[in-house]
């Protein structure tokens, strides 16, 4: 008798695998995507349902509120433009959290990284005059991105060299960034024209403005490209392999010859770069300047987006669009149906709660949990 060729013997399944049509593999892919997206989609649905209850309890029409919300976010070119503009920093902020998360790091510093990116990009945007667009705009974006990268790298380097926890450090750096950029906007970089007393920079030069093509802001195109680039780097490059290894099993990564410290530092720099770019686009493409206090909170929404996307860089795009749409449509919803726009914050918070506590969703929807997760909690040596 030869070596038994069981149902799981490689030779046999290989043949079966090759016989399988592309149709089969497409179906598996769909199933994988659906399984991964089940909890986020269900969370969104649940959040909207509970939001509807709240709207109804206040005596408003749910139908008119939600249809106004959608029309306000995607009803016409203007609405679409608003949504895409809102979504852009959300996507960047989401990527900043998701990318760091792949290395097992929790980047709470998106806010600070975004602020320095926004301020320094604006600084270059108004500070240089008579420079052609092809130089000025990329330079301003680059400086904003670099400022964010430096801000992120500080936390990464501290983590790698002294073990300082990135959550604590990034939270503190948020305060530093907030105060630094407030000071920049109120003092050296303040707009002194006319009788301005607001802590804000002058408007950026036209050569540093990010164009908008009809309803499509170029900044959003950059956001999509950034998401695809993140996916590509993580999945296709040796660097991405290293990042994911550090996140999945630090000890095995060390065994594999990966410098864990370098990966932590560089990953945080990349995360900061992404958030900084988001901030730069906000200054150069939406606000036209940097103003103290305007972008507060924007960086934190990245955490929501990343969780909703389950830290998948591609999924960050629809997650950012969804939240962007709700924020863009909130004004119209209030105008047409009288529902306070804060309901959007409540719905967002509910969605986040459900995403963060998938057990509730699985239980509510009777979604079967996988055995694998439980297995990591306990098993014998024979595994």
């Amino acid at each position: 008798m030869s070596v038994p060729a069981g149902p799981q013997a490689p030779a046999e399944t290989d043949a079966a695998g090759r016989a399988g049509s592309t149709d089969d593999s497409r179906r598996t892919l769909t199933r994988t995507v659906l399984r991964a997206a089940a909890v986020p989609l269900a969370s969104v649905a649940l959040g909207l349902v509970l939001g509807a209850v709240l709207i109804a309890v206040q005596g408003h029409s749910v139908l008119s509120a939600y249809s106004a919300l959608v029309l306000g976010g995607a009803g016409d070119a203007d609405a679409l433009l608003r949504t895409l503009q809102k979504a852009t920093p959300l996507v960047f902020g989401g990527l900043a959290v998701a990318f760091a998360f792949k290395a097992g790091l929790f980047n709470i510093g998106g806010q600070g990284q975004l602020l320095v990116g926004a301020a320094f990009a604006a600084g270059v945007g108004f500070g240089l005059e008579g420079v052609p667009l092809v130089v000025h705009l990329p330079l301003a974006l680059l400086v904003g991105a670099a400022a964010g990268a430096v801000w992120g790298a500080i936390a990464g380097v501290l983590k790698a060299t002294s073990g300082a926890h990135e959550v604590i450090v990034t939270i503190m750096l948020n305060f530093v960034a907030g105060n630094l950029t407030d000071w920049l906007a109120a003092n050296p970089w303040q707009d002194r024209s006319g009788s301005n007393i607001i802590a804000r920079t002058p408007l950026v030069e036209p050569s540093a403005e990010i164009p908008t093509w009809g309803w499509l802001p170029a900044g959003f195109v950059l956001a999509v490209l950034a998401a695809v680039a993140c996916w590509f780097v993580l999945e296709r490059t040796t660097y991405g392999f290293e990042v994911r290894s550090v996140g999945a099993n630090r000890h095995a990564a060390h065994y594999a010859g990966i410098s864990v410290g370098w990966i932590m530092a560089s990953t945080m720099a990349v995360a900061g770069l992404l958030a900084g770019l988001g901030g730069a686009i906000e200054s150069l493409g939406v606000d036209g300047r940097f103003e103290a206090g305007v972008n507060v909170g924007l960086g934190f929404e990245g955490i929501t987006i990343a969780l909703l996307a389950r830290t998948n860089p591609i999924a960050v795009i629809p997650a950012g669009l969804l939240v962007g749409l709700m924020e863009a449509g909130a004004a119209k919803m209030q105008f047409e149906s009288g529902v306070a726009p804060e309901i959007i914050d409540v719905i967002q918070a509910l969605i986040l709660l459900f995403v963060a506590a998938p057990l509730i969703v699985r239980w509510l929807l009777r979604l079967r949990d996988t055995d694998d997760r439980r297995l990591t909690l306990g098993a014998g040596w024979g595994r």
Partner: protein, 544 residues
């Protein structure tokens, strides 16, 4: 399929402690358990045997509520039960000895054992009573542990005893253990088997999995053999032999290399004949003066607690030579391997590999010099569980050609390499895209061994290379190690299995308290001599 007669009313003493009836469990295309029925009665030890991937772990995980079966029923204490999680099993008196200990490392033994079920007085934990109850249990079952020691300071054998005590403290009538002896020294194994025997005297039933036939023959009352997910035999030690069991497991006659598997049972087998059977005619290292590949001089390294574990150790391994390190676990073998391979900081001394200074080298540099390393702890260092089999097959070589070019991973090359490793080392997996976590324990080990054998190397450092691997595959891996040696690779073998060290080594270095206390020739030294050296006797006293 399911016997309909299982409706006996539960009595004080159940007839059946734990059973599975017609259990079927599928993972995608893989049928891990196919209509499996097993039964455990009070006071008996049931041993599960089978090849790697036969479905043993799956079965016990179903019985413990970690997996939900696709078909079939679980019976606990004569009652059909629907287990939705291990808590249900624990509540019904089933305990499992875990691998990743469900223990809180810095807490004391007593606190770990009573955690979640603490005796209380006035709303506070009654520490004195807890301690007393734990001590009582320990005495009653001969499970000796220091009740006040922090769990993290205990060796793995003692941690296992804590896990057993924890289950007993919760009134477990059944203990499940999945390859508990894989990580134990022979002495610890004997002790564990004694403890298990003692438990059965008190009516506890035990299900345990092992690949070592002599443990089955020594300790089991009932034996169930699985193959490809099905029960292929149910027997008792009295009715069978090791050879018959092996044949049943694999489905073909297996050459057990008698000595390895039978001599151990009594502990007085002849090492001389063992070694003679294995070392081929050409003791490579003696024949020509082949160059020294690994040269360690005055190496010192600390363990995780900062205590010196490797103490001015010097050792050389030549090309075409297998040097086996024998020693009771915890005498610095792990730290030695980690210090050589760059996983641990060496506090003093030098390491040179292929005439290059590798003192303080990082793991990457060690790999690039041409070293293969089969790490002792496959879950911690050897694999990334969430990565595919393919990615794991290049875990420490992903950056090299042909797996990468210009910073890009070349998936096609990685996949075809993985398919090679899987085919050569008979890693049972539906495809190379499956996550490594989905492999059975032994197949994970085969994947690691296969990976480390698939590159050009001058030095192989193999720590517990066959841990968890079934008897059929051990043969194969041993053959590959010898082939490598014959091709001129230097091999440093570290194994808790003295049989393995004796069977493979050209020279045996005995390690005790961080030093090599003697280097002996396995063809002339006896097991007793080596055993004495391992226990710390001075070489002169052993007088070889």
């Amino acid at each position: 399929m399911v016997a309909a007669a299982e409706t006996v009313a539960a009595q004080a003493e159940p007839e059946v402690l734990l059973a599975g009836h017609g259990i079927t469990k599928r993972f995608g295309p893989v049928v891990a358990n196919d209509d499996v029925s097993v039964e455990l009665r009070p006071g008996r030890i049931l041993a599960l045997l089978g090849e790697n991937g036969a479905g043993k772990s799956t079965l016990v995980n179903v019985l413990f509520g970690l997996h939900r079966p696709d078909a079939g029923q679980v019976v606990i204490a004569d009652e059909h039960v629907e287990l939705s999680s291990p808590h249900d099993a624990i509540a019904r008196g089933v305990g499992m000895v875990h691998q990743h200990f469900q223990l809180v490392p810095p807490m004391s033994v007593v606190r770990n054992i009573v955690l979640g079920a603490e005796p209380r007085k006035l709303g506070m934990i009654d520490v004195a009573q807890a301690r007393r109850r734990v001590m009582d249990l320990a005495d009653r079952f001969g499970l000796h542990v220091d009740p006040d020691a922090a769990v993290e300071d205990l060796p793995v054998g003692a941690q296992q005893r804590v896990e057993i005590l924890k289950a007993l403290y919760r009134d477990a009538r059944v203990l499940i253990a999945d390859e508990p002896t894989a990580v134990l020294t022979p002495q610890e194994t004997d002790h564990l088997l004694d403890v298990l025997r003692g438990l059965t005297d008190q009516g506890v039933g035990i299900v345990f999995i092992t690949h070592k036939l002599r443990e089955v023959m020594a300790a089991a009352d009932d034996i169930v053999v699985l193959r490809e997910g099905r029960v292929v035999g149910t027997t008792t030690p009295a009715q069978t032999s090791e050879a018959a069991l092996a044949e049943l497991m694999v489905g073909r006659a297996v050459d057990l290399h008698g000595d390895r598997f039978e001599s151990g049972a009594t502990g007085v087998g002849s090492a001389v004949s063992t070694a003679a059977a294995y070392s081929d005619e050409k003791p490579a290292a003696e024949a020509g003066e082949l160059p020294v590949v690994l040269d360690i001089a005055g190496l010192c390294a600390d363990d995780d607690r900062g205590q010196r574990a490797v103490d001015e150790l010097s050792l050389a391994v030549r090309a075409g030579e297998i040097v086996g390190v024998a020693g009771v676990e915890g005498n610095g073998q792990r730290e030695l391997v980690e210090a050589i391979t760059g996983l641990r900081h060496a506090t003093a001394g030098t390491v040179s590999i292929s005439d290059r200074d590798a003192s303080g080298a990082r793991p990457r540099q060690v790999t690039v010099i041409g070293v293969g390393h089969i790490p002792e702890d496959r879950a911690k260092h050897g694999l990334i569980g969430s990565y595919s089999v393919a990615d794991n097959s290049v875990l420490n070589r992903y950056f090299k050609r042909p797996f990468a070019a210009g910073g890009m991973l070349r998936r096609d090359r990685i996949d075809s390499h993985a398919r090679d490793v899987v085919a050569t080392f008979d890693v049972r997996t539906p495809d190379v895209e499956s996550p490594a976590d989905s492999l059975s324990g032994g197949n994970k080990q085969k994947l690691i061994v296969g990976r480390e054998f698939s590159d050009e190397i001058d030095l192989l450092i193999a720590a517990q290379p066959t841990r968890g691997i079934d008897i059929g595959a051990i043969e194969f891996i041993w053959r590959r190690i010898r082939e490598r040696r014959d091709e001129g690779t230097a091999v440093l073998l570290v194994s808790a299995e003295l049989d393995e060290v004796l069977a493979l080594s050209d020279r045996v270095a005995v390690m005790y308290e961080g030093r090599i206390v003697a280097t002996v020739d396995p063809r002339t030294a006896t097991r007793e001599e080596i055993g004495l050296l391992m226990a710390g006797a001075a070489p002169a006293e052993v007088g070889s």
